[in-house]
Amino acid sequence: MTTDVHQLDDGAWISVNDSREVNVSDLWLLARSDFCGCETTDFLAEGFVKVGIDYPDIEARIAGQCIACGESGVTDWLTVGRVVDPESGEFYGVDHESIHFPEKRTRLARPPE
């Protein structure tokens, strides 16, 4: 089955296969990021701006701010979870309190099947 991903309600949450999986208002720790000057960005997710699939990763660009320095903006693509088996469609979210590495995409997301 095709994995269906979108953000809804003004970017309040990410839906994966019609199930609410990732919400705003969590803190994410971002490393090796040019989001702000902090060594580790203590990033408050305020809204999901874009979502995509780079199989098996579910990715998002998130609007928010670093609560340490106050810099605000939109992150590069961040993996928020995975759908390992598209047949089952089961979503495995990442632990947002762990360290994450936002990346600029170097290849296009897989087109929808």
Partner: protein, 587 residues
């Protein structure tokens, strides 16, 4: 490429959603195909139903649109009955109990914990007295706001109530305008106090005189959401009352055809106004959407506006006892953060019937007004015990409080809001004294940048945030100062960011004390803020722990319900069936 929401809307939208909604309600929650949840929940909004946040699946917020806030005789009782019978959830709110109504900043009503299976009965009850939920949410004409005492106000130049009612009847359920790129918010007022708050609406009609005739000037493109606040801009158009609907037709059709359907974040007309500017907006309206010559703007009355201006002079709100134009009185009652228990709502319905005409009206400051009270009934009404809780003469901190829904039910909010603002207001009432010449002081708490509590137009603006305290993440608020409307509307300056929520009351106390010490004689708080730079103001806001206790410092969004005894997400009973019993999980 159109968004997924646009694709869903292309398949089913508008009036036809109701038929599907009723079928699902008849069959129960499980009848909605799991892989169609998102599409249907997006569509249900058009009928005023908003699926509550994560952990509260199968429960809905229901919004009832009451144009201009007018609740006609007999309607309040039904609203209270519906709230009492259907708006009860699996857990109580510690401040407000198990059933309550929220009066909103758009003069509407919100009920929570509504079950899908109950919707047909609720619709029947509401519609039996002329109430409805149609287009209360979704991408269409929303509830029309205006001066809540239109038709009764001594400050009125044009009675805008018949016009508002005509717009409501014309555009509710109108297939030509049922699928707009985004929400469409309209304000209309005919008084010289500015209480329509047209400056923050997509389309605003404001009183103006042209060649000796009274009508409305038109403004376009106001709004507060997403850190992109805009004041509506003059279109240089004046219309007589009988042509207001024609211009409204034209403007909403223009928005329908030219609004951005490829990016919902860019879809509101304020962004089209950014792109086009007022001259092009006017010329496209003239050339393509109206079939008469538009008149240029008339002489407005904005220099007399007092509503939410911080001027401490004239009406800043509608709280208190005021004489109507027919010699009767209206009594504006303060409803702290806009939430009224269902039993209290029923009691107020009786009082309105006994002492007035039975009509009440909602304001954009989340308050309620009992109208048409003859002078001889005033003392008895004011002596009623209910008015001790909903006072016509409250503390400025109670009176000035507005709060959005917050993490209690809302997906977007970052922090708890309503109960927190209740606690703030009580603490400030008991611990802070404003200068004697300040009986108005507006504090608006919004849980996120969507700005449903209109934080940018308050004396003290509070917006949901997070910070760390002793290394632990806690709920926090950004603090802004000096916002307000009037002839010279101004958005707040955000001067102190990420203040832990338990230090905000201390910050406001220090701010008020610093204001008292540094102000010149007679200087209003708003003028005081306007005359100082952000750095100076930031120094006056000194966050401080006090004896104020905040029980919501943890991540309330991670709970299934912030006030439940066991608030862990896994403890949620949702989704439930029509009788509130948990449904078996798929796992």
């Amino acid at each position: 490429m159109p968004t997924k929401v646009e694709n869903w809307k292309d398949e089913v939208y508008g009036n036809e959603i109701r038929e599907h909604l009723m079928e699902f309600a008849e069959e129960g929650w499980d009848a909605i195909p799991e892989d169609e949840h998102d599409a249907w929940f997006e569509r249900f909004k058009w009928w005023g139903l908003y699926h509550q946040r994560s952990g509260q699946e199968s429960y809905f917020m229901m919004r009832i649109g009451t144009p201009n806030g007018v609740i006609e005789p007999g309607q309040l009782e039904v609203i209270g009955e519906v709230a009492k019978e259907y708006a009860t959830g699996p857990a109580d709110n510690p401040e407000f109990g198990d059933a309550y109504c929220d009066w909103t900043t758009r003069q509407s009503i919100q009920l929570h914990w509504i079950k899908l299976e109950d919707i047909p009965e609720i619709f029947e009850k509401l519609e039996s007295v002329g109430l409805g939920t149609q287009q209360a949410c979704g991408d269409s004409w929303r509830n029309i706001v205006g001066c809540p005492v239109a038709g009764k106000d001594k400050h009125e130049h044009v009675d805008a109530w018949p016009v508002a009612k005509d717009l409501h009847e014309t555009f509710k359920g109108n297939d030509d305008y049922s699928n707009l790129p985004r929400k469409w918010k309209v304000a209309i007022a005919g008084c010289d106090e500015g209480c329509g708050q047209g400056d923050i609406n997509d389309l605003a009609f404001e009183p103006a005189e042209k060649d000796g005739e009274l009508g409305f000037n038109v403004r376009i493109g106001g709004g507060l959401s997403r850190k992109e606040p805009r004041l509506a801009r003059e279109l240089d158009v004046w219309v007589p009352p009988e042509q207001a609907a024609d211009v409204a037709h034209g403007m909403s059709a223009l928005f329908r055809d030219h609004g951005d359907r490829e990016d919902r974040f860019n879809a509101r007309i304020k962004f089209l106004m950014d792109e086009w500017g007022p001259e092009k907006m006017r010329s496209v309206l003239q050339e393509e959407y109206v079939d008469f010559e538009l008149e240029t703007a008339g002489e407005d009355m904005r220099d007399q506006y007092s509503y939410n201006t911080g001027s401490q002079d004239g009406h800043n709100d509608h709280v208190g006892v005021h004489e109507q134009n027919d010699g009767n009185y209206y009594v504006g009652l303060n409803v702290l953060v806009g939430r009224m228990g269902a039993d209290d709502t029923l009691e107020l319905a009786e009082l309105a019937d006994e002492y007035g005409s039975g009509e009440v009206r909602l304001t954009q400051r989340q308050n309620i007004i009992v109208t048409d009270v003859p002078e001889e009934n005033l003392d008895d009404l004011l002596d009623e015990p209910l008015l001790e809780d909903y006072s016509p003469d409250p503390s400025p901190f109670m009176r000035g409080s507005i709060a959005c829904t917050g993490t209690e039910f809302c997906s977007l909010s970052i922090v708890e809001t309503k109960n927190r603002q209740v606690r703030y207001a009580r603490w400030l009432r008991d611990n802070v004294e404003l200068p004697a010449d300040h009986d108005e002081f507006h504090i608006h708490l919004s849980g996120c940048t969507a700005s449903c509590a209109q934080p940018q137009i308050a004396d003290v603006s509070l917006r949901g945030m997070k910070t760390r305290k002793d290394g632990e993440p806690v709920e926090a608020l950004d603090i802004g100062l000096g916002g307000g409307l009037g002839d010279d509307p101004r958005f707040a300056d955000w001067v102190e960011m990420r203040v832990p929520a338990d230090e905000v009351p201390g910050a406001i106390k220090n701010l008020v004390n610093n204001f008292e010490d540094a102000r010149e004689d007679g200087e209003t708080f708003r003028d005081f803020v306007e005359d100082r730079d952000e750095e100076t103001l930031a120094e006056m806001v000194e966050p401080e722990e006090t004896d104020y206790h905040d029980p919501y410092m943890h991540n309330t969004k991670m709970t299934w319900y912030p006030y439940a005894e066991d608030d862990d997400m896994q403890a949620s009973p949702a989704p439930t069936d029509g009788s509130g019993e948990p449904l078996p999980s798929d796992d």
